[in-house]
Symmetry: C2
Amino acid sequence: MGDREKKSALFDEFARVGKALGSGKRLELVDLLAQGERTVESLANAAGLGVTTASAHLQTLKHAGLVSTRREGTRIHYRLAGDDIARLFNLVRAVAQTHLSDVESKRIAYLGLDEPDAGGGEAREEISREDLLARATAGTITVLDVRPRQEYQAAHIPGALSIPLEELSDRLGELAPDREVVAYCRGAYCVLSYEAVGVLHRSGRRATRLNEGMLEWRLANLPTAAEAAA
Amino acid sequence: MGDREKKSALFDEFARVGKALGSGKRLELVDLLAQGERTVESLANAAGLGVTTASAHLQTLKHAGLVSTRREGTRIHYRLAGDDIARLFNLVRAVAQTHLSDVESKRIAYLGLDEPDAGGGEAREEISREDLLARATAGTITVLDVRPRQEYQAAHIPGALSIPLEELSDRLGELAPDREVVAYCRGAYCVLSYEAVGVLHRSGRRATRLNEGMLEWRLANLPTAAEAAA
DNA sequence: CTAGTAATCCATGGTTTTGTGGAATACCAA
DNA sequence: TTGGTATTCCACAAAACCATGGATTACTAG
């Protein structure tokens, strides 16, 4: 085997990682897994895939070393193989956002930012991690986690209250009415907190959005809390 | 278009970046471009591809926003679209190295580390950036750039001497015989400096290798020098 | 041991990449 | 304009990938 073939073999090996990232569905799975481990069926449902299809994609990810598995009785839990995978995913998104012009329009369409009264509504301001930390310690805001319960349990911002978006309109009473709410969800591209802010605004509350989510929070090595299943 | 489709559209957009990274040949091209801009023909030669094939791959990279072009007369120069692309490439390699066991064996095969007397030889020690900087300012080493002239001209470590590997055995006289040499090339996976150290050892000199290369040097935001064409 | 559940394996058609020659384009130099 | 050169576009066959349904494996609960 000549030098050229050896080099190709090495780079083809690198390309396995790239290939694994080369499908929107797989990236959705990685996005979900960045929030915590999950079973195949749960992933399939969350991503809108058939179990067989989801399993096949997960095998691809596993073959590329991006995820690992843990068996618990009859079900298998998938998780990211390391923090570097979340970082890689985030960098891919950032590169796409920076260098592909179509991303911005599709992001706006997905997050509902083009429908003034549906999603974020009038006030679309966002606050940063630093602001959130400062105002949370000062006690002037309620930090609200609107992700599904399972993801909150896996890891959340310490002190955050969990009300999944689905339940939010029924549980508005749990929020102190005079305190500003800061909602967050999975990451910068996650739609849940946008919709939560919309719901809160329509109920007459002051609410803003953390300008990112759990993914970036963890990558910044900020502390997280976990909670055992209820 | 429902929420699910909008989400898919957005993630498919992200996946364009992943797809572009999903081919060994394209990664080789990115690796070369990380050293500086180049024309299509030059890239095709360096990567062992036909011009048509190289052009097609470059189009894919361009469509994914990873490279940009500059026309100069009849030829077109490609370059990485930004520092973040080099960073992404490096992270893909690092993830592959960490999580795929086959990478290590192929790396060793490519770099010739399995042939004791051919490549690195007996003394395979490497030094770090910090060591290099300290010993270079102390003046106890000669820093040697063994990449092709073109890449040296695009950017190199300040104060480094340029002797492309091809010419090294003919130009040994240019090196002070009593000074230790530290060779570097493109990056951690680049074979040139391994072979250079082998050549130097066989000529009876003390020589080691920087444990990384120009790619990592730039990503660390260390200063570089450039030289106009000779 | 049997029934039931979760996940993977396997086979299959439909779509997308890949590599490659040959034609077309864009530019330069007289 | 007329060559000449660098690059891209086009067409096509081989290979790889995708989604999906049915069979199979691995495990748990009686």
